[in-house]
Symmetry: none
Subunit: 400 residues, 2 copies
């Protein structure tokens, strides 16, 4: 990767990386995957004149979460640049996370007042409306501790996220969640000398916020886990010489893109709107990351037919995408989400690369199977960005 | 690689590694690459009974220069064993480089005598004849500085190379080229304690050599960059137990082979002559590296048809190569040079391996496409030598 950096030579060529979340799948009883079942003449034609391959987000057999999957695609080692759960939750809630933020995921829970033990770690999954009420109550009273701002966001049911924003914070803190009902919540402890202030601030937050819950019949306490700050990440502008923009609807993906230094563009909720946003900003950036969420949702819902429908919807957009005139075009997933599994999976991602400088496949279509026979072979996700830069002629020769 | 070394077991089996420089290509408007366009019945038949694959010289998207590309193919990590520009230029000029040589690339330039600033870093690309005259003038006067011999070679136009040969030299020197017209040349500075003598010697060379150019109307000064010495490299004899020979016409490739300890055989300029040289020395070596330059030249000249012609010429030589009776035969490139790009590229190299112990492909021909579907898959260049040694039965089992 140090090799790469010395070779970067910016030019005006433009790259579109289209990430169809959860693209790859598995065959259902018909023997065909979602991609093989969908009627996608435009994608098939594009595959014919592109190079294909399969991309492993992390490694053999490893199912990635969205954070590492995207980081790897952006060319950052997903293990080295691990993003903690607290940060991911904060990003997912739509917060902009800065390098002074200590983030943590919290759950309302039920405590037995007499024994001090947790009787339900999820407070009976209280309604989200109740969560909103409790979080508002805390936020109204606990705004600042020492010179640290306290920011709260409700999640669904019992979940919420806390961001401590201020100088001198560190993530080396023990969790307060005992992980089992019937045990007492744990105290928060600094695990490194530099976490002393964080321990003090979080401990004070725990004390004053929980005091406001004492009279609650169910959600009378809360547990915290996944203390984390954002990893130190070299922005894409420095690493690749790219002026990069993100077009994504969901906060999590916008947040991940922001962490690697992309500009986050305002966009509407439909795929058509997302493409319109790209078109509008076409002259301002040389790298667009466009995130399309719905295939993953269908996969997570075990909705094979729904995923097929969204693939056909994607196919309809291909002529418009081609007409935009990008110099390099990538269509891939961040991870697979087979409907038959109903969840993220470890299967490598179908990967399509088009540029004027590819060894065209002459492939019969765009699917897991055609990609597995593609000329790019099986790649690690972190190998994608160098290949993309090369196809945009943005890399000098290594050595003489 | 440490694993490999303990397993090497020399025998009398002989290996031919034929490197067709710039072999791999890209499709032109016909949709076929140079290899797919050429009529190569002998190569196709050989591919049928061989194993095929694609080889990455450095890594995904990285376009290699000849130095790292060959080092990788010889099994030496091309980043760890980086060869500096000065050394490569010296090798390319036909000089034998020893481990006491500090090499540097130099350019004649034009200096404004009144301001002392560079007005043309290339001295208007003076004719090569003028370069020869100036270099001869310096060489006649500046032969030795302290106990260091000074060796000069003219390149084309404004380029020349200087080799300082003597004890106690080091490569940690700053360059004198300011990289831009309108700036003064820089002084040479030692960047490490062990470079003190080098700084002194080079500084004195700069002073006395430039004094001889003062009266020149155009090329009245020169700039130096890429100070380098040869990296410490374990010879192939030690690393692989091979007695290795190089048959190459161009000095650069002979020089690279010499760096890894190959014997350099005298040969004529044609491919037929190169094969004749192999035949002549057949009994003396168990590894022959044969370098064929012309495909790369055609690629660099963006001459698609010319590259196709040379591929057909290579095909004609295949029966003769087979008849030599090598135990292991490799045909590959060091890097790709697609005519449509007119330069080295990042695309992986077609790779053919024949021995009695391969899983024969039954491939329809020898091309980037058939290689991409080959049983060897996609390999790193540094994985080639172990595979070659195995096919020559020169490696013991690892572990019991």
């Amino acid at each position: 990767m140090d090799v790469l950096k010395g070779l970067v030579e910016p030019n005006d060529k433009r790259i579109l990386m289209l990430v169809a979340d959860g693209l790859g799948g598995l065959p259902d009883e018909s023997g065909k995957t979602e991609m093989e079942s969908a009627r996608t003449p435009n994608l098939d034609e594009l595959a014919r004149v592109s190079s294909l391959g399969l991309v492993d987000p992390i490694g053999s057999g490893i199912t990635p979460g969205s954070g590492p999957a995207h980081f790897a695609l952006f060319g950052y080692d997903p293990v080295e640049h691990a993003v903690g759960r607290g940060v991911l939750e904060a990003l997912g809630s739509g917060l902009r996370v800065t390098d002074r933020d200590l983030c943590v995921r919290a759950n309302f829970c039920s405590l037995d007042a007499s024994t001090g033990k947790v009787v339900d770690r999820r407070a009976g999954r209280i309604p989200t409306a109740k969560n909103l009420e409790l979080v508002a109550r805390i936020a109204a009273k606990v705004k600042c501790i020492e010179d640290v701002e306290v920011i709260l966001r409700s999640g669904k049911e019992h979940r919420f996220v806390v961001v401590f924003r201020g100088p001198g914070l560190a993530q080396e803190l023990s969790e307060t969640d005992p992980q089992k009902d019937g045990k007492a919540p744990l105290a928060v402890r600094g695990l490194a000398p530099e976490a002393a202030k964080s321990e003090r601030v979080v401990d004070e937050f725990l004390r004053s916020a929980s005091a406001l819950l004492k009279s609650e019949p169910v959600a009378n306490y809360f547990l915290m886990r996944g203390f984390s700050m954002i990893p130190r990440i070299e922005p894409m502008a420095e690493r690749y010489g790219l002026k990069a923009a993100c077009v994504a609807v969901y906060p999590m993906y916008r947040g991940l893109a922001q962490l690697v230094g992309m500009d986050i563009l305002e966009t509407g909720e439909t795929w058509e709107s997302e493409l319109g946003t790209v078109q509008k900003h076409m002259g301002e950036y040389d790298f667009f990351f466009v995130h399309l969420k719905e295939l993953d949702k269908m996969g997570e819902d075990a909705n094979f037919a729904g995923k097929v429908q969204y693939l056909e919807k994607l196919d309809v957009l291909v002529p418009r995408i081609k007409a935009m005139g990008f110099d390099v075009l990538i269509i891939t997933g961040d991870h697979s989400t087979p409907a038959v599994l109903g969840t993220h999976s470890w299967h490598p991602n179908p990967f399509l690369l088009w540029s004027p400088y590819v060894r065209q496949e002459g492939a019969s279509g765009f699917s897991e199977r055609t990609c597995s026979r593609g000329q790019l072979g099986r790649m690690r996700a972190t190998e994608v960005m160098p290949l993309v830069l090369a196809n945009a002629l943005k890399l000098r020769k290594f050595g003489a």
